[in-house]
């Protein structure tokens, strides 16, 4: 291990949070500026990480391993691969943007807000880099609570309800995951090696029944986070009640943890059970796509509308992953980043207009184009990106997903395409009612357009939206090798079953090792 770059990226926001908490409360510009400046550090460090990242390799890179609790086999081990690379960058990119965007939104207890946002960033980064199950679980829970405080302190009128609902849903899911995690580790320990390292745990001997149960224990925890139907009901409440900064982080990164969890844990650790679960996962994804879009249509509240659109968009992500081919899965990973950018941008812009009018009701607006042209044009770009207009980022992801899904399950792709049309429908309807037409409300005539600070917060997001839409190759190139590694793993597991031996130990990453372990008979019941 040489320079601990990933550790620095992960822990620098925590250090920044501690620094901010020691600063004076008043004037509020001190914690604001300090938080923004300090949030740039992890971003710059993650650019260094991007430069050092070898895009041709599909396994974990920049790894660090330090013993932590040897009696339990717990190591502080972290690393990055194509699944987490862009999500890490998205996290470090969105945090300064959010802090900048929140300068007028958050007026009281500013210092605490900045503290929790930075703490949240550390938690999210930790969950993305952790390659030890224990460490991952720690960060998984750790990122929950800053978000609860952000929703509960600075949220809307029903903030306490939303915060509690958010916690109970997530805790119930992670509780099951904890038992499954320990069961897995203990089963693996029967070979004599006590370890929480996920790469080591990939090789655990599990019967088919065990695999299925463990897969679902993990999958439900992740499905709650995604969120997939029927576990999605916390999301509209949390999104609607959270302040802008909370909504952006929630939509941009926290939701991705669910899909990321599938890629990093549920699929590679339980490859057979994961593949056999496809009718459920694909069915629920497609149902989520259509349901989210249908429910988004009549929403009177802009934020709630975007929240339901997230249910729909995350359905696409899961559909892409579950296509189990290179195109679809790459599209799914890419779409996670796209959704983070476009939905993040939407929430930021809605937050700006909310700062001015203190309402998010669509019916309260209309004709904004003539009053606030800068806002309206930026809003248009982000809306189109969310719809998936060719030339912007959303198109690339959705296209890859649908292409992959069509190859795997044509019927699912066909239904999902309806979701794309519906998506264009509700987003454009909202845009039309807010921006076009005559100015119906007298108060709207005197609205201020975006300030330079606000423009500075949104423009980076727009730049990324256009860049990823026009030239997505550098992004895709760094995702694909990791996708290939996972797909090979899944294929090998599937092939071992076709040879008539479903109870065979799950293949390791290395082909030769697999032959060695494959000959060991596994006790246990038949599938």
């Amino acid at each position: 291990m040489d320079f601990p770059l990933l550790s620095l990226i992960t822990w620098s926001p925590l250090a920044a949070a501690i620094v901010v908490s020691l600063l004076p409360k008043e004037p509020v510009s001190i914690p604001q500026r300090a938080a923004f400046g300090l949030a740039l550090i992890p971003f710059l460090l993650s650019l260094v990480m991007l430069a050092q990242f070898d895009g041709s390799v599909g396994t974990l890179q920049l790894t660090e391993t330090v013993p932590w609790m040897p009696s339990l086999g717990v190591y502080y081990s972290i690393g990055v691969d194509g699944f987490s690379l862009w999500l890490i960058l998205l996290t470090t990119f969105l945090t300064p943007v959010v802090i900048l965007a929140a300068w007028t939104d958050i007026q009281h207890r500013v210092k605490e807000f900045m503290f929790f946002m930075l703490l949240l960033e550390s938690g999210m980064l930790g969950a993305l880099v952790a390659t030890d199950l224990f460490l991952f679980f720690m960060f998984w829970e750790l990122m929950l609570f800053p978000m609860v405080f952000v929703i509960g302190i600075w949220g809307g009128p029903r903030r306490r309800y939303a915060a509690i609902k958010f916690v109970i849903y997530t805790m119930a899911g992670s509780a099951l995951m904890m038992v499954a995690m320990l069961y897995l580790v203990i089963t693996h320990a029967k070979t004599g090696q006590l370890s929480f390292d996920i790469i080591t745990l990939y090789d655990t001997n599990l019967t088919y029944t065990e695999q299925t149960l463990l897969f679902w224990a993990f999958a439900i925890a992740f499905m709650i986070k995604v969120p997939m139907i029927p576990f999605h009901t916390w999301l509209p409440d949390a999104h609607t009640e959270a302040p802008t900064g909370g909504s952006v982080d929630l939509a941009g990164i926290l939701l991705k943890m669910g899909a990321y969890g599938f890629l990093r844990f549920a699929l590679p650790m339980f490859p057979l059970a994961a593949q056999d679960a496809f009718p459920w996962i694909i069915g629920l994804s497609v149902a989520g796509i259509i349901y989210g879009a249908m429910v988004a249509f009549p929403q009177p509240d802009m934020k709630r509308l975007v929240a339901y659109s997230s249910v729909s968009h995350l359905g696409f992500v899961m559909l892409g992953i579950y296509a189990f081919n290179r195109v679809g899965m790459t599209g799914g990973v890419l779409q996670m980043v796209n959704h983070g950018l476009s939905t993040g941008g939407l929430f930021i812009l809605i937050g700006f207009i909310y700062d001015r009018r203190h309402t998010r009701q669509i019916s309260e607006y209309g004709g904004l184009w003539s009053v606030v042209p800068i806002f309206s044009s930026l809003f248009l770009v982000v809306t189109l990106s969310s719809i998936g207009l060719p030339g912007l980022n959303g198109f690339v992801g959705e296209f890859l997903i649908l292409m992959g899904a069509y190859r795997a399950h044509a019927w699912a792709a066909a239904i999902a395409t309806i979701g794309v049309i519906l998506g264009a429908g509700y987003m454009l309807t909202m845009y039309k009612h807010v921006v076009f037409g005559p100015v119906t409300k007298e108060v709207n005539k005197t609205l201020r357009d975006l300030t330079p600070r606000e423009i500075a917060a949104v423009v980076p997001v727009i730049v990324m939206i256009v860049w990823m839409g026009v030239y997505p190759k550098p992004f895709i190139d760094r995702i694909e090798p990791t996708v290939n590694v996972l797909l090979q793993r899944l294929e090998r597991a599937g092939a071992s079953r076709h040879m008539g031996d479903a109870q065979r130990p799950i293949a390791s990453r290395d082909g030769d090792e697999r032959l060695a372990t494959a000959s060991v008979p596994t006790p246990g019941e038949a599938p």
């Binding site: 339990l72 750790l142 609570f145 302190i153 805790m171 119930a172 509780a175 038992v179 320990l182």
Partner: protein
């Protein structure tokens, strides 16, 4: 007949207990002759704290696996040393909370401090007991002190009610315990753990099971397991808060260790039978504790039900019946001591003369009034919920690991679901403190210096052992392995 030979090794084994008990007596005599008007009550506190410190140091220095006194009936092995540390920690921290608190509620009972020491001595005996009679002695020494402590706020009706309730039901439990001991003695011809274990194969099984069931009832009362828990909420709420802290942590710890040592060393051959009984007891205890805690509006009462729920978690690890389970129990008791004593210290620090401020609504907006105390309370609540990287999480993880390892996967699932339920009421307090505006005017409250020390110890313990749990956990596991 037990041959009592007193050697140097045996003297070592009883030294920690002797220190605590002798200091308790000295302080009792000192208090009796001290002049109320002129002597500083602080002196008694320091004397008693010194006794506790001496007991702690002696336990840590003198323990040795297999070391025992009085014909092998009283051990100072790893398990006993660990229990001593947890119980003396609880006693010490409750002592530190007490002076300012007692002055505030108007209790001038000088016997308070020595009684805490006597209770601690009883707990130490329970952790060391390797004979049913010694276990009985420990329970009685501890309980009688605790009955008096619960009622030491003589002008308060709730305190009196608590003492009476605790005493009456405690007396019942004692009856069950003695009856169980008598039956086991009849069946096996001995009260010593080793002798009972050796005689079990020849003993009439039904009689033995009857005795075991009676012991479970008696010990279940002390650990406040459902359905023997009805005394706990009233007693915990009515007793002075520093006494509640001692009961919730120290008494529970001693009783759980007594339970674990008895069942893991004497009755492993009957594991299938008692494990089934305890399985239900544990599931009932954690579920009832958590579900009822949701409905509470008084923080002390909420903590009482939460402590019932935690007793359920601990029983679950005893169900596992393995040394690993025993080790996890010991570690969890240490974790529980830090986080729960911290929570009680916060409860005490918010009271004022004439106002207990124990309702949830009294905590509204605490974060803006006293940010540091509120932050500490958040830590304790999150740790009780089991959120990493705090000590409560690691403790729970070890419990679940031991349970899953012993094959009780469903018990583990019920336990984690329970811990998700518990998130609701712990979080409610956090929401009161951080997400509501203060109801009344902001009043400056200055906690006493000793209370601040107490909060600091609890906070540091909650964080430090959450991140570095390895040393105490290893010690706890090795101690239980050495019992076999």
């Amino acid at each position: 007949m037990i041959e009592v030979v007193f050697t140097a090794a045996e003297a070592r084994a009883i030294t920690p207990l002797l220190i605590v008990a002798v200091v308790a007596m000295i302080s009792l005599v000192y208090e009796a002759f001290a002049d109320d008007a002129t002597t500083d009550p602080g002196r008694a506190v320091w004397l008693c704290l010194a006794g506790i410190g001496g007991g702690l140091v002696a336990s840590v220095v003198l323990w040795e696996n297999g070391q025992s006194a009085f014909g092998g009936t009283f051990a100072l092995d790893g398990v006993a040393a660990f229990t001593n540390v947890v119980c003396l920690l609880a006693a010490g921290l409750s002592l530190m909370m007490a002076p300012a608190y007692l002055a505030r509620i108007g209790v001038r009972a000088r016997e308070f401090y020595p009684l805490v020491l006597f209770a601690a001595a009883g707990m130490m005996v329970m952790g060391s007991a390797r004979d049913l009679i010694v276990l009985f002695l420990g329970i009685e020494i501890m309980s009688i002190a605790a009955y008096v402590l619960a009622g030491c706020h003589r002008t308060d009706r709730a305190s009196g009610e608590a003492a009476l309730k605790y005493f009456l039901l405690g007396a019942f439990a004692t009856g069950f315990l003695l009856y169980g001991i008598a039956i086991l003695f009849g069946a096996t011809g001995s009260t010593a753990y080793t002798a009972i274990a050796a005689a079990l194969p020849q003993a009439p099984p039904l009689v033995v099971l009857g005795g075991v069931a009676l012991l479970i009832v008696a010990l279940g009362f002390k650990v406040s397991a459902v359905p023997f828990h009805f005394w706990a909420p009233d007693v915990y709420q009515g007793a002075p808060t520093s006494v509640t802290a001692l009961m919730a942590v120290g008494i529970k710890a001693a009783a759980v260790v007594g339970f674990a040592r008895l069942f893991l060393t004497v009755f492993p051959s009957l594991h299938d039978e008692w494990a089934m009984l305890l399985w239900w007891l544990s599931v009932l205890t954690m579920t009832v504790g958590n579900v009822v805690a949701i409905a509470q509006n008084n923080v002390k009462r909420m903590l009482a039900y939460s402590s019932i729920a935690h007793a359920g978690y601990l029983l679950a690890a005893i169900v596992a019946g393995t040394p690993r389970g025993g080790g996890a129990v010991l570690f969890y008791l240490l974790a529980y001591a830090f986080m729960n004593l911290g929570a009680f210290a916060v409860v005490i620090s918010l009271g004022r003369r004439g106002e207990a401020n124990e309702q949830f609504s009294d905590y509204a907006g605490l974060a803006s009034r006293r940010p540091l105390i509120a932050a500490a309370m958040v830590l304790f609540m999150l740790s009780l919920t089991g959120i990493p990287p705090l000590v409560g999480f690691v403790g729970k993880l070890y419990l679940i690991e031991a349970i899953v390892q012993a094959g009780y996967v469903w018990l583990a699932v019920i336990m984690v679901l329970n811990s998700a339920i518990s998130a609701y009421y712990y979080l409610r307090l956090i929401i009161e403190m951080y997400m509501r505006d203060p109801a009344g005017e902001a009043v400056a409250m200055e906690p006493a210096p000793l209370l601040i020390v107490c909060l600091l110890v609890a906070t540091v313990g909650t964080i430090f052992f959450g991140i570095f749990p390895d040393a105490p956990l290893d010690f706890a596991r090795q101690s239980f392995l050495a019992l076999r």
